[in-house]
């Protein structure tokens, strides 16, 4: 069943956020499904922001991803 637009938007937001701030390599996402690496990066981001570490794009995680913030990555490269 095709992924609903909203779901896809969330994935796109997370993909962009994790690439920009958590060093996730580009071009990993399969069609409409979060990769294992993405789950791992979500866990990294949740741990950094002291959110509940689920590896999933829950509401609290998305809420933080939508906040105005600094452009420097959270994981120092």
């Amino acid at each position: 069943k095709p992924i609903a637009t909203e779901e896809k938007d969330k994935l796109l937001l997370a993909d962009k956020y994790l690439r920009r701030y958590y060093g996730m390599p580009a071009g990993l996402q399969g069609e409409g499904k979060a990769s294992d690496l993405m789950h791992q990066k979500i866990r990294e981001m949740q741990a950094f922001f002291r959110l509940e570490v689920t590896g999933k794009l829950d509401d609290n995680t998305l809420e933080v991803m939508e906040m105005a913030r600094c452009g420097v990555p959270d994981v120092a490269e």
Partner: protein, 367 residues
């Protein structure tokens, strides 16, 4: 706090900066002042000294630009990404860029240029992001008055450059309280539409039945109008409002919105003028009474009548034996009062009038 890899920093403490262009959102003088004040934040606690250049190449080159602005690290239009800066080093090292698509301000409206500049200059001096939600180097924007560095920030920058040799006094913000600190005490506790809100310093934890992990947030991030310190709080489920007390003022919240007409003075409840602070408050859902605790005494307020009950204040110790003579916070669940004092929590049976259990205050934070 975190540093960049290899603890990148400037080799000497005299650092130069230059402002290449200006945002039209503010007067040039306001931008100059915001930038100077932002550097002063760091020079107050270190030997670092910042010299402004008007031409040539400075260590920290400051500019405003939108979208792709010359460093292949594009901005993203309004909101979202506000600014970025590069770690100390030659060339682009130290350079700081602000997203011109944002609205830059000099007051509490988003986004305050001084605060964002102080954060970005932290990067330009060698600080990476901190995961302490109360620190200036926390990646998410939040507005706060007063000296912006927290103890966490100061430890970080001083471990790179040392302390300020002429010892000018600063009043840093305390670090965010740790929920599993064995000595943790609460400022206030209340329900809010099925969630439990616990106030401590400038923060609150939010406990939700489906969220095993409490979420810590700055009070002002959710309720900008509230003060940084809450003394007491309770929910009146009938009216669907939460009353917040701080000093001699009280606010009413309807969910996450402030009810018009507040803040009001606590004396409107019928408390004597000698009362300057309420330690704890709790609504007993079954009786419709709200108990207000002040030092060793407490009052009973009838929510329906909107008046204080006669025969108060009464002695806390006499009416609730076993919990001591002062409380920090009180909650009521299914016939049990939970008194919090220092790092202890007393479960008190309202019907049988005795203490049933004694636990650590933060046992409800999964600690």
């Amino acid at each position: 706090y975190n540093h960049f890899p290899r603890d990148l920093k400037w080799k000497n403490t005299n650092v130069t900066f230059r402002i290449l262009n200006y945002t039209p959102d503010l007067k040039k003088a306001d931008v100059d002042k915001a930038v100077r004040n932002a550097f002063n934040v760091w020079s107050k606690v270190t030997p670092l000294r910042f010299k402004k250049l008007y031409e040539g190449n400075a260590d920290i080159m400051i500019s405003f630009g939108a979208k792709e602005h010359g460093d292949f690290n594009p901005f993203d239009g309004p909101e979202g990404l506000l600014a970025h800066a590069y770690p100390p080093g030659n060339g682009i090292g130290g350079d700081t860029h602000f997203d011109e698509d944002e609205t830059w301000t000099k007051d509490f409206h988003a986004f305050n240029l001084f605060l964002v500049a102080a954060h970005e200059f932290g990067h330009a001096l060698g600080m990476a992001h901190s995961s302490d939600p109360g620190s200036l180097m926390y990646p998410v924007y939040s507005y706060g008055k007063g000296y912006p560095l927290s103890e966490d920030d100061i430890k970080g920058i001083q471990s790179l450059y040392g302390e300020n040799t002429d010892h000018r006094k600063v009043k840093p913000k305390p670090d965010a309280p740790s929920k599993c600190d064995p000595e943790l005490s609460f400022d206030a506790i209340t329900e809010l539409r099925g969630e439990t809100i616990i106030f401590k310093d400038r923060f609150y934890w939010r406990l939700h039945p489906q969220m095993p992990e409490p979420e810590q947030t700055l009070i002002k991030n959710t309720w900008p109008e509230l003060p940084n310190q809450v003394d007491a709080a309770y929910e009146n489920p009938e009216k669907d409002i939460v009353i917040i007390f701080s000093g001699i003022r009280m606010w009413a919240l309807n969910g996450y919105n402030l009810v018009d007409g507040y803040p009001k003075y606590i004396h409107k409840l019928g408390l004597p003028k000698t009362v300057r602070k309420i330690d704890a408050a709790v609504n007993i859902r079954d009786t419709g009474k709200t108990l207000l605790f002040v030092d060793e005494e407490y009052w009973s307020y009838d929510e329906e009548k909107g008046t204080m009950d006669s025969g108060y204040p009464r002695s806390l110790e006499q009416d609730f034996p076993g919990i001591g003579d002062e409380v920090d916070a009180v909650a009521y669940h299914y016939g049990y009062l939970y008194f919090y004092h220092d790092h202890m929590q007393f479960e008190y049976s309202y019907s049988s009038r005795k203490v049933m259990r004694i636990m650590r205050a933060n046992s409800m934070l999964n600690c």
